[in-house]
Symmetry: C2
Subunit: 337 residues, 2 copies
C-alpha cells in the first residue's frame, strides 16, 4: 500500500521482461522473502536426505491449439523443462484447469489427451489435479496451471553457478514456438511451415547428467527468449556472457517471420530448448550427447561465459561488431504461453 | 472425441458435485489412469524412503475480498488443508497468478500480503511461483493456483480407509465460507456478522497425529460441502455413514442465511473445517485435542461409520426420521472458491 494508488497491472507485467522482474521483486519477493524464492525456475526443498525440485507455471496461450502443439502439451513441457533446469529428474505433475463455461467438451478431451501424451513422452505421471469452471466471459476458453516435483540428481546446478570460461550450449534453433503462435493467431499459417518446438527435454538433460558432464547452469528460454534467460544467468552468477550471433541456429522461415513481425528472434519464446552452461573441459562431449538426442540435433555452442560484472550479455554480430543484448522491457507477445 | 459434438462444459462441471465427478472420471481419469489419480485431495509420491503428499487447487472466488478472507488466504488454506487430509506436514507451496490487465497494483499487493500471512500462520514456505497477465476481458481480476508438497507422517490415512464403527468428527460449524461469499456478492453483508472460516488446520491435524490418535480418513469439506465429502468417503471406503443432524454445529446466522438463499448448509462450502474419521477407541481423546485448538473450539462428534455398501450417507433428523444425504448434482454456488 505504497506510492500512488493509480498503479495498475499491465500486460508487460507478465511478459518475462524487465517490468515483470520489477513486479516480482517489489510485490512477491518483498512478501515471501528472498531466502525462499530464488531466481531459478524450480525451487529446491530438502525432505529427509532428498532434494526435491518444485516448480509451477500457468498457461494462458492464445490460440489453445497451434501448429506443433496445444495448451496441454505446453503445460506439461513447461513444468518438465523447469524441473530439468534444476538438474532434477521429473517425477510427478499436478494439472489444474480453469475452464470458461461453454467450452466444447471435445476440446477439453483433446487437450487432456495431449497432456497425457506429453506426460508419457516425458516419463512423468499426472497424479493430482483440480477443475474450476467460471461463467462465460470470466475467462478465455481454458487456462491450465501445472506444478511439478522431481528429484535433484546433481545439486548446485543453478542460474547462479555459471563460471568464467564455461561454454554456452543451445540445444536447437530459436523462436519456433513464438513465431508459430503469433502466425496462428494472425491466421497466417496456411502451410504450417513453422511449428512450435514444444517438447520435454528429459533425455537431453538426464543424458548429460548420467554422463557426468560438468553442467553448471541451465535455463529454458521461454517468455523473453534467450535474451531474458542469458541476462538472468549473467545477473545471478555475476558474470558476463558473450554470444556469437552467427553460431545461433535459426530456421530461415522463422527468421523471415520474425522480421515480418518486427521481432528480435533472441527475444521470442521457445518451449523445447535449453541453454546449458557447461565447463569448457566437457563442452564438446556435452554437445555430442545433446546432438544425439531427438530434440537436440541442431544444438550448437553459441558462446562463452566472460569475466565478472558488469553482468551483461554481449552479442558478436556477423559484421564483427558487438552489441549489448538487453532483457526485453515490456510486452512482446501477449499470451504466448 | 466420442458421443455427440454439442456437449459443452457447464458451470456445474466445476461445482464439486455429481456432474464434476463424471467429468473427472470420463475426461481426466480416462486419460491419466486411475492407478495414478485417487479420489483423495492429495496424491502420494514415493521419493527415496519418503512419502510426499502433493496437491493443487485453482481459486477463482468472486468477490476476491470477502468478510473473513480473500483469494490469497483461500489459496494458502486450500493447499495446506488438502495436504493435511493425507496426514502430511505441509512444507512448501507454489503460487501462480493469472491476472487481468488493469488490476489495481494495491489489490495485488494486498493479496500477496494475505498469502504471506496465511503461509506464516500455517508454517509453510512459499518457494516458487509464476505470473501471467492476460488482456482485459480475458480473465476476471485475478485467479490463483497453489500447489503444495508435504511429508506424510501417517501413511494409509485415506478416504478409502474408513471402517465400520469409526466416529465422525467435524472440527467446527458449517457453511460460513459459502454464506459469507454469497452474501458479499449480493451486497447483503453490512454488519459482517458472517465471516468466511478460511483457516489452515495444521495444529489440529498434526496435534492428532502427534498424540497417536488412530485417524483413518480426513477430508476438508469445500465445494459441495460435507454432503460431497461424506459421500466421497462412503464411496471410496465402501461403507455407509450415519450423521446425527442435531449434533452438527451451525452458526444461527449462517442457518438463517442459508434458508434465505435456499441452500442446504450441508452442501455449502467450508474453507477451515475438517471431517475426521477416527477409531472409536480414540474418538473422545481426539475430540478433546481438536477442541483445544484455535480453529476447533466448536468441534463435535456428528456421526459414525456404518456397515458396508450401499455406500450411502444417512442423516437422522431432529424429528427422529432419516433421510439420504446425496451428493449435490449441479452448480450451487459458482466461483465460491
Amino acid at each position: 500500500m505504497t506510492q500512488d494508488d493509480t498503479r495498475r497491472v499491465l500486460l508487460s507485467h507478465g511478459a518475462g521482461g524487465k517490468i515483470m522482474t520489477e513486479l516480482i521483486e517489489s510485490v512477491f519477493l518483498a512478501n515471501y522473502g528472498s531466502q525462499n524464492v530464488t531466481g531459478d525456475d524450480s525451487a529446491i526443498v530438502n525432505i529427509g536426505l532428498d532434494k526435491i525440485a518444485f516448480t509451477t507455471d500457468s498457461f494462458v496461450v492464445d490460440p489453445i491449439f497451434f501448429p506443433g502443439g496445444d495448451i496441454g502439451r505446453l503445460a506439461v513441457c513447461g513444468a518438465v523443462n523447469d524441473l530439468l533446469t534444476a538438474a532434477a529428474k521429473p517425477l510427478a505433475l499436478s494439472v489444474s484447469f480453469i475452464i470458461e463455461e461453454g467450452l466444447d467438451m471435445k476440446t477439453l478431451e483433446a487437450i487432456s489427451e495431449s497432456l497425457r501424451e506429453a506426460a508419457n513422452e516425458a516419463g512423468v505421471q499426472i497424479v493430482t489435479g483440480d477443475t474450476k469452471v467460471v461463467p462465460r466471459g470470466s475467462a478465455d476458453k481454458v487456462f491450465i496451471t501445472t506444478a511439478g516435483i522431481g528429484i535433484v540428481l546433481k545439486p548446485d546446478v543453478s542460474g547462479s553457478a555459471a563460471k568464467q570460461g564455461d561454454k554456452v550450449i543451445l540445444t536447437g534453433s530459436l523462436g519456433e514456438h513464438g513465431a508459430a503462435v503469433m502466425l496462428a493467431r494472425a491466421n497466417l499459417l496456411e502451410n504450417e511451415s513453422i511449428k512450435s518446438d514444444a517438447a520435454p527435454l528429459v533425455d537431453i538433460v538426464l543424458g548429460l547428467i548420467d554422463a557426468g558432464c560438468q553442467v553448471h547452469a541451465m535455463r529454458d528460454p521461454t517468455r523473453g527468449g534467450v535474451a531474458s534467460s542469458l541476462n538472468e544467468i549473467a545477473r545471478q552468477s555475476g558474470v558476463s556472457i558473450e554470444i556469437d550471433e552467427t553460431a545461433i541456429p535459426v530456421n530461415p522461415s522463422v527468421a523471415a517471420a520474425c522480421e515480418a513481425l518486427g521481432l528480435d528472434v533472441m527475444q521470442v519464446a521457445n518451449e523445447g530448448k535449453m541453454i546449458i552452461i557447461v565447463s569448457p573441459d566437457d563442452a564438446d562431449r556435452a554437445l555430442e550427447i545433446v546432438q544425439s538426442r531427438r530434440y537436440g540435433k541442431d544444438a550448437a555452442i553459441i558462446g562463452e561465459v566472460g569475466p565478472a560484472p558488469p553482468s551483461r550479455v554481449l552479442v558478436r554480430t556477423a559484421f564483427g561488431t558487438s552489441r549489448i543484448l538487453d532483457i526485453p522491457a515490456g510486452e512482446l507477445l501477449p499470451r504466448i504461453c
